[in-house]
Symmetry: none
Amino acid sequence: MIVELINTGSELMLGRVLNTHQQWLCRRLTDQGYTVSRQVAVPDTGPDIRQAVGEALARADLVITTGGLGPTSDDLTRDLIAQLLGKALHEDAAVLAHIRHFFECRRREMPARNRVQALVPAGAIVLPNPHGTAPGLAMEVRPNPFRAGKRASWLVMLPGPPVELHPMFAESVLPLLRRVLPPSGEFVCRILRTTGIGESAVQEQLDAPLRRLVEAGLDLGYCARPGRVDVRLAARGSEAEPRVASAETIVRERLGSRIYGVEGEDLETVVVRLLAECKATLALAESCTGGCLAHRVTNVPGASAVFLAGLVTYSNAAKQKFLEVRADTLARHGAVSEPVAREMADGVRRHARADYALSVTGIAGPGGGTPEKPVGTVFIGLATPTGVAVERRFNPGERETFKQVTAEQALDWLRRTLLAAAVEPARRPPDCAPDV
Amino acid sequence: MIVELINTGSELMLGRVLNTHQQWLCRRLTDQGYTVSRQVAVPDTGPDIRQAVGEALARADLVITTGGLGPTSDDLTRDLIAQLLGKALHEDAAVLAHIRHFFECRRREMPARNRVQALVPAGAIVLPNPHGTAPGLAMEVRPNPFRAGKRASWLVMLPGPPVELHPMFAESVLPLLRRVLPPSGEFVCRILRTTGIGESAVQEQLDAPLRRLVEAGLDLGYCARPGRVDVRLAARGSEAEPRVASAETIVRERLGSRIYGVEGEDLETVVVRLLAECKATLALAESCTGGCLAHRVTNVPGASAVFLAGLVTYSNAAKQKFLEVRADTLARHGAVSEPVAREMADGVRRHARADYALSVTGIAGPGGGTPEKPVGTVFIGLATPTGVAVERRFNPGERETFKQVTAEQALDWLRRTLLAAAVEPARRPPDCAPDV
């Protein structure tokens, strides 16, 4: 089954608004077994919308449009599609009553312009809009003048505001689709998130062992993000679940602890969970990451159970005052150095009375680099119940990426340490539950 | 001039990734006088990419593709386009040297697979990629077999990662376009960023005084974002600049200091600049924003000149230890209270020896709310050379939005205070230059 999506709106083409409908609809459709093969965005103008709808109807079994159902002069989708298909528009009494009621509830006069939203093309199904005035519209285009053999297509028009589109899709569109265009087969998609290994290296590890499954229909994809690479395993049909499961087993065997989580799971979420599982606490001492680490950790609901404090000691004076980094260490080695990272991690762990502490000191740039310590140089410290270690890394790139990649490395080091502590009882912190 | 955009990536079609390239590229192109008339997203498969590129070349003077230039097997754009246009690929020695150097700098072995990224179609211009391994490629398709009269088109292929695409577009693509496809007419777009006032209120202030200019062709738009509202003023043609300038004067008269900056200028950038101008320093004490404020301030290059320290005191013990918040205050009023916000701001200002300090304590949720202090309750403290003040705010919403909106309010309060200090000499901090 071929599915295409058309997003209308001049604001999209001017780049003033982010098109979130594409991802939202593609995700929901994919999860229900429908594959979107093309998405198009066009401005709010007659010729562009007409052309895009005609082309999509020539190819697809299902065409979904978003936007252009509002009451203003640039809302043209309903009219244009009725014209294109030679359908008359009639005023629907139930829709008009809903629009009137909508304004009454809000104690506002119904503007005359909104009456246009009660117009429905002949033969169309009305999809109720409990959160706004424009109903959605669905129609079977049969015969379909745009398609070879006049083969029928379904056309679904949805309103632009996400607060209206999202519930309408779940409550009206999906039930309709399951009835009139049941998905052709099961679809399973699993995404494994890895860190500490580049995109090519991930592929080198996986291509040969997964070849047989790929030949049998496994969809294997890689996506590089700052500090991580996602591996996508997807399959369709009755064998989808066992095929994806076999692939996942192979990927986990090959990449081991390079995999930190599945789709939607951030490194900070995993770290907070691991800390909670072994009842351990965390403190942070940041220089160059400037609070990025603390911000990420505290984005996780429930972080307060494990996170005690994060000290962003940007100045040398702050490093001395709050972390007891020694003036002598700063003078001899500089703020960006292994000994300072060590004293920062140790200092914040002691002062915050935490089980674990991470420290970061480096040169985020654009200024401040030297030949020995160029922009991108960073020292990450990790203090645990058994000691302090420091790693030197080099993360060239612009300032915000540097902060994110460095935070990813620090969190991953802590994650691997917590996993090791859980399997090696000797290194386990005192409070850690034995069954973790 | 007709411009079309093609975003490739199966992860886009599966709804696993948000397509941010569309907005980013449309905005930059619009600002340079190029209008994008269509954007298409297709999966990483040969037939889809070929069809989309062929159709776009049939219509457009400029076709820009994103994605598919990586080293893995689902990176097909380079190959497919060379095939489609009947161009041979050759290995470019300079590109290969750059890729080798890229891995050498990171002390990593170059995977064999990356060599494919040095392949360049005959006649293509290489667009350097200082932030990654895949260069961009640009070529004039002349004669263009897809277009009526074989009229020439330009085709530009850009890598998918934003951190590579963004600088490449600014540094290589725009200079090339200005040379080979100069924009047909002037386009001026100015966006003024406001905070502390709602979208409807902004519109009520501006609609009447701007009516005459809108009738004369000014494009006026509003866009609400977490914590701010953007006002867009745009015009095209020979009168574009004076028209937008007149509109800007009116908007500035009406909204005054509600406007904190122009497009691309964040509140933290403005705050760091104001602090630097009056040679003042800043410290932060955060509880519920969890480092979000420090992270934003340290995203600004040069922040180290004004920012001394940010203490993320999540636990009560950390508030006592690092900020000298009194146990008695915590016990009597709770951590989320006016007196605690006051002691936090005062404590961090004294300990970090800063001129100004902000503090934040509140309930980010989803847990922790009470009838008197529901989720979203927050106290913001501001300590200046002349005293400490606290504001209570209510920011319901999910956790990350709560953090961002609260950070926006805190930064805006500091911004308005710094502006007032600059115009009122009596309240000016001792070091502040008299001409600021």
